[in-house]
């Protein structure tokens, strides 16, 4: 494999070799070194609310059954029968207390335990030949959740999820903890785009600069009043922990007025005031910033916007979670969910869903123009000329590294991390710096498990 240290060094100074958005060798490295260790979102607990509910989700090519077992515990099992490797679940969702492999009929409880092999005694000589006791579908190497968001890591020694997310949790709460019950997720819509997965993650992390240009049409048709260039520039970007995002500056007003300005009914505002910390409330009420798009490294993004959903002046907010699931160096499967506070009034939920469909997702009017850009960028990045071009991703920095505008002070912005008002590429650089850090660090060999022959797992060499 080619030495990538030059590429990584360029990335670290904010000069992006254009081919990183369409490079097979780098993609092979990303599979091992990014997706082999990072915490990757797979599902939200509200997608599997009752015992036996499951969804099947992938991390790259690895399929996992994310299930709530009969005791209510959320689990992720590698979707491969221990016998001949058949997929145990071929439906993408369902409810089952037990899974039964269609090939030879091995069956598993939804907590993963192998409960039956047909003719265990006759064919294997019982426990003496095949130790069934203690066998289970391979669990995800690491599994954890935050606010009901279920993440898995392929690295058994991954740092705890809460440390991985770090201070980004402060911002994650705005999207996912507006009431004690939290959000419910619907979807995902799934579609494939011929674009590299990093582009979406970077865009949602901090690209306020594209909004007035790419999305001018949605302003022109009266759908959305905010993205005008002047207004967008008044917002700020922040980076904290392993994620960052963008905000809009709200008009003058107090906390309640500002939440209502984006369309939250007072009863939801009252709950948020109970749920959010003093600093979380200050960011909105005192500092006047409302969260909008965000990304958590490596490939989970969020969006919170407030369009008009009918022919009136009223706006209504919606939340979407989306994942940029890599298929190859030039193709991504987008999974886009609609999220809404589970305790919101039914009418709010219906209109918020409508707002989501109009703006984001497979048919969303914002998203349509984004994808066009990303597909075009990816195909242009494939050739040899792209290898001669270093894209400038240094917006916000002078040549000597000094910042064009100073970071907001803790009196101007009460959230953790570093925030800057106006346009900049601080967050895109943060995201790609983490990418460079991961690409530089070789992956550890993963243990292999021998099925049915005793307890030991041995450390093997990765393929």
């Amino acid at each position: 494999m080619a030495d990538q240290s030059g590429v990584l060094a360029d990335v670290r100074r904010g000069m992006i070799p254009a081919h990183i958005y369409n490079d097979r060798e780098l993609f092979e490295l990303e599979k091992q070194r990014v997706f082999g260790r990072a915490w990757v979102f797979v599902a939200h607990e509200s997608e599997i609310p009752q015992p036996g509910d499951y969804v099947v989700r992938r991390v790259l090519q690895d399929s996992f059954i994310v299930a709530r077992d009969e005791k209510g515990v959320v689990r992720a099992h590698f979707n491969m029968c221990l016998h001949r490797g058949m997929q145990v679940c071929r439906a993408e969702m369902g409810n089952a207390s037990h899974f039964r492999c269609p090939y030879h009929g091995w069956s598993y409880r939804n907590d993963g335990r192998l409960v039956g092999l047909p003719f265990h005694q006759e064919a294997y000589g019982g426990e003496a030949g095949f130790r069934r006791k203690g066998r289970r579908l391979l669990p995800a190497p690491n599994l954890a959740s935050y606010n009901g968001l279920v993440f898995l890591s392929m690295d058994p020694d991954a740092e705890p999820l809460e440390e991985f997310l770090g201070d980004f949790r402060f911002y994650l709460d705005y999207y996912t903890r507006q009431s004690p019950t939290g959000i419910e997720l619907r979807g995902p819509q799934r579609w494939r785009v011929k674009a590299n997965w990093k582009i979406g993650a970077e865009n949602f992390a901090g690209d306020m600069y594209h909004t007035p240009q790419t999305h001018i049409s949605v302003v022109e048709i009266g759908l959305f009043r905010e993205p005008k260039a002047q207004k967008r520039k008044d917002g700020c970007t922040y980076w904290a922990g392993n994620g960052g995002g963008t905000t809009y500056k709200l008009p003058p007003g107090d906390l309640d007025e500002r939440f209502r300005y984006v369309g939250y009914p007072q009863q939801m505002v009252d709950r948020m005031k109970q749920m959010f910390s003093a600093d979380q409330l200050r960011v909105v009420g005192d500092d006047g910033f409302m969260i909008s798009a965000a990304s958590v490294y490596p490939n989970l993004s969020f969006v919170h916007n407030w369009p008009r959903v009918a022919d009136s002046d009223d706006v209504l907010p919606f939340i979407s979670l989306r994942q940029w699931q890599p298929i190859s160096e030039d193709e991504t499967e987008v999974l886009s969910w609609f999220a809404v506070d589970a305790e919101a009034p039914e009418e709010f939920k219906a209109l918020s869903y409508k707002a989501y469909l109009m703006c984001f997702g497979s048919t969303g009017m914002f998203e349509q123009d984004d994808v066009e850009n990303w597909v075009s960028l990816t195909s242009t990045a494939a050739g040899s000329m792209a290898r001669r071009l270093l894209l400038n991703s240094r917006m916000g920095l002078l040549e000597d590294g000094a910042e064009v505008v100073p970071a907001l002070t803790c009196d101007q912005f009460h959230g953790p991390g570093v925030a800057h008002a106006g346009y900049g590429e601080y967050n895109q650089r943060e995201l790609l710096n983490r990418w460079a850090d991961d690409l530089e660090r070789p992956a550890k060999p993963a243990p292999t498990l021998e099925v049915g022959v005793g307890e030991q797992a041995r450390v093997g060499s990765p393929a």
Partner: protein, 189 residues
Amino acid sequence: MRAVRSPLGAHASPLLRTGRSLPFCDERHQRAHQWLVDEAWLLDAQAYEEWLDLLTEDIHYLMPVRVTTALGAGYDTSPGMAHFDEDKYSLSRRVARFLTEHAWTEDPPSRLRHHLGNVRTFATEEPDHLVVDSATLLYRSRGDVREASVVSAGREDLLRRTPHGWKLARRTVMVDDAVIRMQNLAIFL
């Protein structure tokens, strides 16, 4: 199959088909078929303002998200989620956007061909309403680098006779992909 419900479709006509499909020689079938063919040409040409005029004020335009579920599961659409779940207002915004000079995704425009087939028509309890089933295959070609993309779907339409001709009062598009193989749905089916 569990009926596809949408919280946004409550305003739409609930009329259902009655009896078997009408004979192809029935004038009602011929009228419905011609309506769909004319509509397909409008959609190919992206003549969306004219298309919008063919929709009733109470239109519900629904395209559920399909999911892979077991044969006996009783449902094959994602609970509470759709690609399109539209009323006249939201469709009119989509059309208005295409008419701006800044809808980049369709400028330059795609080359579109809506292939239509398997049309059959049913009477309803009201003489001014027909239910029409059809299959559609959209071929969409953009630029000169990427291969074209295709989306296949079945549709159930409710057509209504109005003083201004037959109009579409309800459409359910059952797309045949769980994962859409198209960069976005900046099109109509």
